[in-house]
Amino acid sequence: MLFKLGSLFMKPGAKLAMLAFAVVFPFLASNEYQVYVMASAFVWAIAVYGLNIITGYCGQLNLAHGGFFAIGAYTLGLLTADAGWSFWPAFIAALVVTAVLGFLVGIVSLRLKEHYFAIFTLCVGFIIYLLIDKWEELTHGPIGVRDIAAPYGFGVVDFTETTPFYYLVLAFLVFAIWFMGRLSRSLLGRTFIAIRNGDELAQSLGINLMRNKVLAFVLSTTYAGMAGALYAGMVRFIGPEEANIIHTFDMITYLLVGGIGTLTGPLLGTVGIVWITQSLQFLEEYRMIIFGPLLVILVIFFPRGITGQFLTWMHHKAQSIAPAKKRKESKVVTTQRREVENNA
C-alpha cells in the first residue's frame, strides 16, 4: 500500500525530473555538438513513438517506417527549397502527406497478416527509397535537397541555431509523448492491444480489425512524418539515404531496447543507444561487436526491454509488499479501509 502510494508520487516526479533535465541540457552540454546529438536523438525518438503505436501496441511489424520518415523530410524539403513555402505550412503539409500516404498504404498492406505484412512493408519502404533515388525531376535524385528552410525565428530566437531548434524538437517530443500516454490508457489504446493479442480474439470482442489497424498505421506514419519534417528543418540538407532501410532497423532496435509497447521505452531506447553509439565512435564499425551481443542478451532475458522489465519488477514488488502490509494492519482493518485498499 505504502509502496503503491510511493510509486504514484514517484511517477510524475520522475517525469518532471526527466523534463527538467531535458530543459537544462543545453547549459550542461560542453559543446554545441552534444546539443545537436541530443536534438537528433529526440527527432528519432518521435519517429520511434510512431513505430511503437503500430508495432508495439497494435502488434503489426511495419518495416516501411523509415520510408515514411523520409517522405516527411522530403515533403518539407521540396516544398521549402523548390516551391518556396515557409517552414510551418510545409510542416503541416508533411503531416498531411504522410497521413494520406499512410492511409493508402495501410488499406492495402493491412489486408496481410504477421510476417506477410512485414515483408510487404519492407518492399514499400524499398520502393519509397527507389522513388526518391530515381525520380530526379522531383527529388533531385542522389544529389539531394539543399537550402531547406528553418522556421522563422522571433526576437533573439533564431531556429537556424542548434539550441533554439533543440527546444523546438523538445516541445514536439513532449507533445508526442503526452498524446501517446493518453492514447495508451484510453479505450482506443486498449483496442490496439487487443488486436496485438490476436486478430480472432479481437474480432470476437466486436473490434473492427481493418478500421483500427488503419487508424494505428496512419497515426504511426504521421508521427514518422512529423519526425522527418523536423529532421529536414534541423539538418537542412537531405538525400535518398534518409529512406535507407537501415534507419527502420535502427528504430526497431531503439524500440526493443527501451521497451516495446511501453510509454517511456522509445525515449530511453533512442536516447540511450544514440549516446552509446556516440561514445563508441572511436571503435568505428567494430562497435557492432559490443552492440550485437548486447542486443541478443537483452532480447533473450528482457524481451520487453528496459522499461518493460522495470514495470514488471515494480508490479511484483508491490504485489509482495501488499499482502505483508495487510497482515500487519489486519488488527485495525475496518470494512471501509479494506475497500480503500481494493481500490488502490
Binding site: 498524446f179 493518453r182 492514447l183 484510453s186 479505450l187 482506443l188 489504446g189 486498449r190 483496442t191 492491444i193 487487443a194 496485438r196 493479442n197 490476436g198 480472432e200 480474439l201 474480432q203 470476437s204 470482442l205 466486436g206 473490434i207 473492427n208 480489425l209 487508424l215 497515426l219 520487453r304 518493460g308 514495470l311 514488471t312 508490479h315 504485489q319
Partner: protein, 255 residues
Amino acid sequence: MLKVEHLTKMFGGLAAVNDVSVEFEAGKINAIIGPNGAGKSTFFNLISGMHQPTSGRILLDGEDVTRMPSDQVARLGVGRTFQTTNLFEQATVVDNLIVGHRLRTQSGLWDVLINSKRLQREEKAARDKAMEALDFVGLTHVAGQFIADITQEERKRVAFALALATDPKIVLLDEPAAGVNPEETEGFAALMRKMVDNGLTVCLIEHKMDMIMSLADKIMVLDHGEKIAEGTPEQVRNNPVVIEAYLGGEDDAAA
C-alpha cells in the same frame, strides 16, 4: 434463439460442415460433440462470422446474420471463447478485461485527444463491466495480478469473463474444460449453469462426456461435418449411430 438452416462450408473439395440444420433454444445449455475433425470448431467459426459459409443460413433471434463480419456478429450479442486465449501477460487481469466492453462504446481518436466526457464515462463503464464480469466468474481476488502470474484454470475463467464483458446473449465456448482437472471441471460446469440462470444461452464444444451428459439440455453430434444425431443426453447416449461413430472410427473420441 439461434437457428441454423442447411449450413455448408467447403474447404476446397472437402465439406468441413455439410448441410447442418439445428436450432438452439434460449436459456439452455447446448452441446456439440463429435470425434476430432468432425467440424465442430468450423461450425462455431461459421456462426460467429469468422468464416463465411458456402451455403445455408444463420438466424439470430430471427435476424439473418449469415454473411455478417464477426465483429458485427459480436455486437449483436454472440460472445465466444477459444481453445487458447492469448492475453497481455504483463498487464493485470482487470486491464485485460476492460476492452471487452469496447464494442458498446463510441469514443474515437478525437475523444482521446481532448479527453472528452464521453470517453471518461465510457472508460468507467468499461471498467465497471470488467469488474462485474470478474465477479461473475469468481476472480475478484486476482483483479490486480498480472495474467502471467495466475493459474491455468484462472486464465480460462478470465477468458469467460472477457466474453461476458461484451454483454452477449449467447456464448459459444470452445472446449471450456480442456486441460483442467476433474474438480475444476465441476467448477466450470457450475459456472455455465450460473450463466444460464442469469438468462444467457450457452453453446459449447466439449470432449468430456461425463460433464456433457450431466450438464447439457440438448446435444448435437457431428461426424465428418454432418449432423448424425440430436437430442437430450439420454437420447444421444443410446443412439446406435453415435456409438458407431465413436467406437467404430479410428479417431480418438474420448480424448
